[in-house]
């Protein structure tokens, strides 16, 4: 069918519009949201299968041929990211039903939720650089609304900062797109990828590529542009935070991955060295933050920063193996970070605080929650049977093969500190005598937590099963001619 690519965008968009009309009925909102999220998963599974069997899927929106109209392109990377987004969306919905009440729902909470999914799926799917900007804005507008939703003092304060920094980076994005358009005369990514190697003046393209790097580093929280994140992500409720932690920064990582593998290959020695330095600095500052804090949220937030650094390092290596590792790591990290914020949110709910040390002995009264913390710690650090292992292993092996020594060792060491930081949560909250925790009913929260964790564990054990899909995604990234030809054919 012609329109396979549009469904991951059209389904949440339609849902958002329907939800505007049934905003007064809490039950109808729940039903519509769950049905649409399940449909979304089915559509993305179908899309993955289609891309696996028939190669890169494209849709010329409005039937205008490729460089002139907007093209939506779904290669294996986009399809896998869209699938992961759909799974996270369903999990976050289930978590929201329990933690975000009917009052918030009547203030359009689920409408904004669906629009956020529209933005993320659109950004993953688009093949046009200005359309990418538009989907970024769809995503960011909804994230502003979700961040401030509820209107507590801390949320207002942090939304202000978050908005200022993102308005700035969006303006920079428009300027960068303007420069790129002035130099190349096109906005379609595949067409750009054809034109850029033909340009004689590569210096100006290098400047533009660095401008894009700054923009996406601001969105994706790379050093030194991550400073907005610890504050902004500490403000919203756990369900929103899990959605942000799972999706928002990863769109920035995806954009870096896409632009620096498809478009800006003209001076790899320069641009990708800068990316590698930024990446390693991000890892270092991320783990410093993760080790330093006793606040569970801050530990989880700095874990995002560290993971973004690992992915950016994988991108900077630009070999097929490192791409494969990056994609492996990216997919598992989206799921694991969402799960981690779910768990942290659940612990904070029963303990009434985010500060470690004020409570202990969780394992006695909430055994499932306790073991969930342990599994997530092992998976995040990359202990072999779990999901984080193979991605990091591939990235580090690719780095050693290029003759690098210091950077991959830093990344290895960071795993240890990440493990330490999450084990700190486990030991201080789960061990010891029971104190500071109330008996509360949190059974509904276990559903999304257990679902995501078992998915992550299966992903680690069944790496051989997902490997062909990820290899296909990495092959398209390593050799963009497949992408270009499938977009510009006919």
């Amino acid at each position: 069918m012609t329109n396979a690519v549009i469904f991951p965008i059209a389904i949440p968009l339609t849902t958002a519009v329907i939800l505007i009309f049934c905003v007064q009925s809490w039950k109808a909102q729940k039903a519509v949201s769950v049905v649409s999220a399940s449909l979304l998963i089915a559509a993305s599974l179908w899309l993955v299968r289609l891309v696996h069997h028939e190669g890169v899927q494209k849709l010329d929106v409005g039937n205008w041929p490729a460089p002139f109209g907007i093209t939506l392109v779904s290669d294996m990377l986009s399809a896998l990211l869209v699938l992961t987004t759909s799974v996270i969306a369903l999990a976050c919905l289930l978590y929201s039903f329990f933690t975000i009440g009917a009052k918030q729902a009547s203030m359009y909470y689920y409408v904004f939720f669906q629009f956020l999914i529209v933005g993320v799926n659109g950004a993953f799917t688009t093949g046009d650089i200005f359309n990418l900007f538009v989907f970024y804005e769809v995503m960011l507008m909804s994230s502003y609304a979700l961040l401030v939703h509820g209107g507590t003092k801390i949320q207002l304060q942090e939304t202000m900062k978050y908005m200022v920094i993102n308005v700035f980076s969006s303006a920079l994005f428009v300027i960068a797109v303007g420069y790129l358009y002035a130099v190349t005369g096109t906005l379609n990514m595949a067409h750009l990828a054809v034109r850029i190697p033909q340009m004689e003046n590569t210096a100006v393209l290098t400047v533009i590529s660095l401008l894009f790097l700054i923009v996406f580093a601001l969105k994706g929280a790379l050093f030194p542009f991550y400073v907005w994140m610890p504050g902004a992500y500490a403000a919203p409720p756990a369900a929103v935070l899990a959605l942000f932690g799972g999706l928002l920064t990863k769109v920035g990582v995806y954009s870096i991955l896409r632009t620096f593998s498809l478009l800006f290959r003209q001076d790899i020695g320069y641009t990708h060295t800068i990316l590698a330095w930024l990446a390693v600095a991000t890892v270092v500052f991320g783990v410093i933050g993760a080790v330093a804090y006793r606040d569970m949220r801050q530990i989880a937030i700095y874990n995002i920063v560290a993971a973004v650094g690992v992915m950016a390092f994988g991108i900077s290596l630009m070999t097929e193996e490192s791409m494969e590792g990056t994609i492996f790591y990216l997919l598992q990290d989206m799921v694991m970070k969402t799960a981690l914020f779910f768990i942290v949110g659940a612990i904070a709910y029963v303990a009434g605080t985010n500060q470690l040390g004020r409570f202990s002995g969780l394992l006695g009264s909430y055994p499932l929650l306790g073991w969930a913390v342990l599994i997530s710690a092992l998976a995040l650090a990359g202990i072999p049977p779990f999901s984080g292992f193979i991605g990091k292993a591939l990235i580090i092996r690719a780095a050693f093969e290029q003759g690098q020594l210091a950077f991959p060792l830093i990344v290895l060491l960071s795993s240890l500190l990440v493990l330490y930081s999450v084990m700190k949560i486990f030991i201080q909250s789960c061990w010891g005598e029971a104190r500071g925790c109330e008996q509360k009913r949190i059974a509904p929260l276990y559903v999304p937590i257990v679902a995501l964790l078992s998915l992550a564990v299966l992903y680690g054990i069944g790496a051989e099963f997902v490997r062909p899909y990820i290899a296909q995604a990495a092959a398209t990234l390593a050799d963009p001619s497949v992408y270009i030809e499938s977009v510009l054919k006919e």
């Binding site: 009309f21 010329d60 409005g62």
Partner: protein
Amino acid sequence: MNELILRTVTAVVTFIIILFGIQLFFAGHYYPGGGFIAGLVTAGALVLLLLAFDIQTVKTMVPVNYRMLIGVGLLFALGTGLGGVVFDVPFLTHAHGHVMLPVLGDVSLHTAVLFDLGVYLVVVGVTMTIIETIGEEE
């Protein structure tokens, strides 16, 4: 306070502004104009009513829930896009043709107008929601 002059002028001018908005809306395909500016002009007419009268009076004059209007507008825009899915052509492919209408005769119609109508409704809805929400706040 007696606002006789303001209210009388408003009664005349509002209709001219709304007509101008409709003219801009339909001219959009061939001349400068379109759904966005037409929506803003129409919202401007409603704002003039708000200036001359109070919020409650305007609500009884124009009994529209502007948040629903945003939804209806999005539905129009989305519907023209999803029409492509129904007819198995790419999303947002538009159809056009000449239609004989009883009174107007031969008219060239284009589904892009429906998309524009969606934009128009969303712009009116968003502008009025912003202004009424700020206006009602104490």
